[in-house]
């Protein structure tokens, strides 16, 4: 199968998954006892039963479940995610406003992870079983074991309360593109990137060690190439492929992490919005963010698969 057919196949195969994602999202949220209408009604005892029914009809909450699903899907496909019932704001406007904040955090986390993990992974694999390797393995193990919310709290404790380098919360929030925001991004960025960094370190070390034992390395050394070039050019390239296979999983981890980390640092992104929507039972908002997360992760997976196929000519497309 050619590369192009493989990519086309992969793209087509996400269609049933997208459908499944929409069903799970809709199904889960609609199992919730007490929709926003009954909450609104509970707050205001003067609403009559007929008014309640009218409200339900207005928000499309009457009718059988499959019909509600179809209405919802139709609206979603035309870009209409409904409104937040309490404030009457457009859900899509909220998502668009919050998204850049989360993307900035995620990108910072990714950059930090790669910057830390790749050099450390190389170092650990080259100096296998040396003292530095043992230390870096211990750090990597700690990194995958540390709960991100606790890491965030500890960073606030040390960086903000003891050292005083950061304010506990940014005093007045500047727009995201303001250069000063980069400084405020450091603590939440470190928190969200640590788990990914630790995973990459572990994978890099394993795959580089494995690659170092292969014959092409012996051949390169026999040719008289300097060790530096053997490691950084030949071994590193082949080991990075294993990081690509991990990328989708790590992205999912960062998305899940943003929910927690944004709450810790009071960062106004999608994750914090999600928690607030859950607490307030804002069905439309919960559904929009859940659906968005699902679609995003599917696309990340697709991209990682394609990248992997392009980078590694050895794989068979089947």
């Amino acid at each position: 199968m050619s590369l192009r057919r493989f990519i086309l196949n992969r793209v087509l195969s996400i269609i049933p998954i997208l459908f499944g994602v929409s069903v799970i999202t809709f199904g889960l949220v609609h199992l919730t006892p007490g929709d926003p209408i009954s909450q609104m009604v509970a707050l205001n005892p003067e609403v009559t039963a007929s008014q309640e029914a009218q409200l339900r009809a207005r928000y499309g909450l009457d009718g059988p479940v499959w019909q509600q699903y179809l209405t919802w899907m139709g609206n979603v496909l035309t870009g209409d995610f409904g409104t937040v019932i309490r404030t009457n704001r457009e859900v899509s406007a909220i998502v668009l406003a919050r998204l850049p904040e989360t993307i900035a955090l995620g990108l910072f986390g990714w950059a930090f992870a790669l910057l830390i993990a790749i050099p450390t992974g190389i170092y650990a694999a080259v100096n296998k079983d040396a003292f530095g390797d043992t230390v870096s393995r211990f750090i990597a193990l700690s990194g995958i074991s540390i709960p991100n919310f606790w890491l965030g709290l500890m960073l606030i404790l040390v960086g903000a309360l003891w050292l005083g380098w950061w304010p506990v919360l940014a005093p007045s929030r500047l727009p995201l593109y303001h250069p000063q925001m980069l400084w405020y991004l450091i603590l939440p960025g470190l928190t969200i990137g640590t788990a990914a960094a630790a995973s990459i370190m572990r994978v890099m070390r394993t795959s580089m060690t494995e690659e170092m034992n292969k014959e092409y390395v012996t051949a390169a050394r026999a040719k008289g190439l300097p060790e530096r070039q053997v490691v950084l050019k030949h071994v590193l390239r082949n080991s990075l492929i294993s990081v690509v296979t991990l990328a989708a999983t790590l992205t999912a981890g960062i998305v899940a992490g943003s929910v927690v980390v944004e709450t810790v640092f009071n960062w106004p992104g999608l994750g914090r919005e999600f928690i607030q929507a859950i607490t307030a039972r804002e069905v439309n908002l919960i559904m929009a963010i859940t659906l968005f997360t699902g679609v995003f992760i599917i696309l990340a997976n697709l991209l990682a698969d394609i990248l992997y196929a392009v980078l590694d000519p050895r794989i068979r497309y089947d």
């Binding site: 995958i144 074991s145 500890m154 404790l157 309360l161 506990v168 494995e210 929910v259 999600f274 928690i275």
Partner: protein, 344 residues
């Protein structure tokens, strides 16, 4: 090499160096003398792995401390009378002893200080293990067994059954497990069994995918063909031949997953969606002190209320991961060639 006949002369060859070199595989002379089962060999290697043994020791000690922290009664019958924790986790100390305050720093009487409601943090920490640790084990037992059967059926039957079953798994994989657990807890409300359900309902998908992959290669083996030729039913082939052989990677994933679930439970607690507020669960305890930390130093910073509960989660999860790595190495769960075997 026929050096005797003089056709090939090898110079600069030091026999000692070759002998001293570590062998690439971990084949040892003793392993050639008799057949040893994969499990027994794995156990022997596992016992030699110091970090894995340390992990087991920590997990056992923490679990015992949680069980022995306060007496346990089941249906009015006292089954566990020991009480290691000096105070009940819900005791507000200043009600009995006015000299104890809110956020008292660690002292001899209260080794980890008191929390924001004037309760003994040390007692709460010991007791708190009961929630996270037991949920971790229950969830993994349930998800691993269901996932194993799911994956085995999918891989064994193949065809459209496999196709449908794996698309379902793919769909679940499109969501981070924490997000799904959050929605389920939002639907059902917090509480012990709600948390178990939140992590069980979709948590099996990873096992399903893993076991299916194993089964695809296992079912090509001759012993499966032999069992079928002898007239074994599908069910007995799956349970007696396929699943047992898919166990090693399943065990590795399960041991690593216990840590993931413990962190997940604590994360929900921290987000205020886990156990009811005031429960001595590690994540919920962190949530209770977060506001004091965020609002900044009103006098001294009560670091102990933040440091210790998190440290407990960290220590447990790290030990679980050390055990998982140990099992992985011992059972060669990922056999990827010579030289990677017993080391790492």
């Amino acid at each position: 090499m026929s050096t005797e006949r003089g056709r090939i002369r090898i110079t600069g060859f030091e026999a000692e160096r070759v002998e001293e070199r570590d062998s690439l595989s971990d084949w040892e002379a003793e392993s050639g003398t008799g057949t040893e089962s994969r499990w027994r060999r794995g156990l022997r290697r596992f016992k030699r792995n110091r970090s894995a043994m340390l992990g087991i020791a920590i997990v056992v000690v923490m679990s015992l401390l949680a069980i022995l922290s306060r007496p346990i009664t089941v249906g009015g019958v006292l089954v566990q009378p020991i009480s290691l924790a000096p105070h009940a986790p819900t005791d507000i100390l200043y009600l009995q002893n006015p000299s104890v305050g809110v956020y008292d720093p660690p002292s001899l009487a209260y080794p980890m200080g008191t929390d924001g409601s004037g309760r003994d943090l040390f007692s709460r920490l010991l007791y708190g293990g009961r929630f996270s640790i037991s949920i971790g084990f229950i969830v993994v037992a349930l998800t691993a067994s269901f996932g194993a059967v799911y994956g085995a059926v999918s891989g064994y039957y193949g065809g459209w059954v496999d196709e449908v079953m794996m698309r379902i798994v793919d769909t679940i994989f499109a969501f981070p497990s924490l997000i799904l657990a959050l929605i389920i807890v939002a639907i059902l409300g917090g509480g012990y069994w709600q948390l178990v359900l939140a992590f069980t309902l979709f948590g099996w998908a990873g096992y399903g995918r893993l076991v299916r992959g194993e089964v695809l290669s296992i079912k090509e083996n001759e012993y499966v063909l032999a069992a079928k030729a002898l007239g074994a039913k599908d069910r007995s082939v799956i349970f007696r031949h396929v699943i047992p052989n898919a166990m090693p990677p399943l065990l590795v994933l399960a041991s690593l997953n216990i840590g993931t679930v413990v962190i997940g439970v604590a994360a929900l607690g921290f987000l205020g969606l886990g156990m009811p507020p005031g429960t001595a669960e590690w994540g919920t305890m962190l949530d209770a002190t977060r506001q004091t930390l965020i609002q900044g130093p009103g006098g001294a910073i009560p670091w102990w209320a933040t440091v210790y509960p998190g440290l407990a989660i960290f220590l447990f999860v790290m030990s679980m991961n050390m055990i998982g790595d140990g099992i992985n190495d011992a059972l060669d769960a990922q056999e990827t060639g010579v030289g990677r075997g017993g080391e790492e």
